[in-house]
Symmetry: C2
Subunit: 154 residues, 2 copies
C-alpha cells in the first residue's frame, strides 16, 4: 500500500522539469538528478516511462534534454503516477478489470469488491484533480521564500 520510489522520484523530477521550462530550452536528466539528488541512471528509466506515456518529449544529442509534451495545467498527478506506477488501483479483483463480473465465481467473495472500488475511486479522484502547474507554482513560492537549493541552473 505504498507508492514506490518510481512515483515519488518521478513526480519530483517532473515538477523540477516543469519549473525549469521558462529558463531552459530543454532540461537534461543530469541536471534534474543533481538538483533532486536522484541517481542519474535510475532517473533515466523513470523519464523513459514518462516519455512513453506522452508526458514529455525529448531532444537527443549534445545539449539535448526533455520538455513537457503539453502545458503543465493539462497534466495531472494521476497522469504522472499512472505512467510511473502503472495502475494505481489498490486492489484489482478480476471483476473490476473487465466489468463483466467474470472471474468472480463466488458472489460471496465480492462483498469486498464494493470496498475496493470505493478506495480506488477516491485515489483516482484525488490524483486526477491535482494539476502539475499548481505544484510548480507552489514550488516557486517556496523557493522565493529564501530556500535557494533546487534552483534551475541547467
Amino acid at each position: 500500500m505504498k507508492l514506490s520510489t518510481k512515483g515519488r522520484y518521478g513526480l519530483r523530477a517532473l515538477i523540477d522539469l516543469a519549473s525549469c521550462e521558462d529558463e531552459c530550452e530543454v532540461v537534461s536528466i543530469q541536471s534534474i538528478a543533481e538538483r533532486q539528488k536522484i541517481s542519474e541512471s535510475y532517473l533515466e528509466q523513470l523519464v523513459r516511462l514518462l516519455k512513453k506515456a506522452g508526458l514529455v518529449t525529448s531532444q537527443r544529442g549534445a545539449c539535448g534534454g526533455y520538455r513537457l509534451a503539453k502545458p503543465a495545467e493539462q497534466i495531472s498527478v494521476g497522469d504522472i503516477l499512472r505512467a510511473l506506477e502503472g495502475n494505481l488501483d489498490a486492489v484489482t479483483c478480476p471483476a473490476n478489470q473487465d466489468d463483466s463480473g467474470a472471474g468472480c465465481q463466488d458472489a460471496d467473495f465480492c462483498v469486498t469488491r464494493y470496498v475496493w472500488k470505493q478506495i480506488n475511486d477516491s485515489i483516482t479522484l484525488t490524483v486526477n484533480s491535482i494539476m502539475l502547474d499548481q505544484l510548480v507554482q507552489e514550488n516557486r513560492k517556496l523557493r522565493s521564500q529564501g530556500k535557494s537549493t533546487g534552483n534551475c541552473v541547467n
Copy 2:
C-alpha cells in the same frame, strides 16, 4: 500501491466472522478458512493481528474460536486494514510522521508533500467511512439471492 493479501484476506475473514455471529457462539479459524478458501495457518496469523488490534477476542481450547470485540457497526474498514497492513499512508515522508517538519531539510523536496497528504487523507476518509455491519448486511443480501456457498456451517 497494492493492498497485500493480508488486507484482502483479513477483511474477507472478518466479514465472514461477523456474518456468523448470530448462529455461532464463537467462530473457528478452520471454519473461516474453509468457507473463504484461505490457508488455515496463514489466516491464523492474520487473526492474530486483528486480536492484537482489539478487534476480536478469542476463546481458547476445544470448541474455541473468535468473536468480534465490539459491535460490527463500530468497526470500520479502516480499523481492519490498519490492523492488518499497518499504516495505510501511500507515502510517509519524514515530515508527515512527526509534524515538526524535521527530516525535510530541503523545502523544495516538499512540494510533493501536499500531494501525498491529499492521497493519504482521501484513503483514510474512505476506509473510515465504511463500517463492517454495512458489509455484513450486503453479504446477507447477496447470499439470500441464491448463492449458497459461504454459508455459516461452523
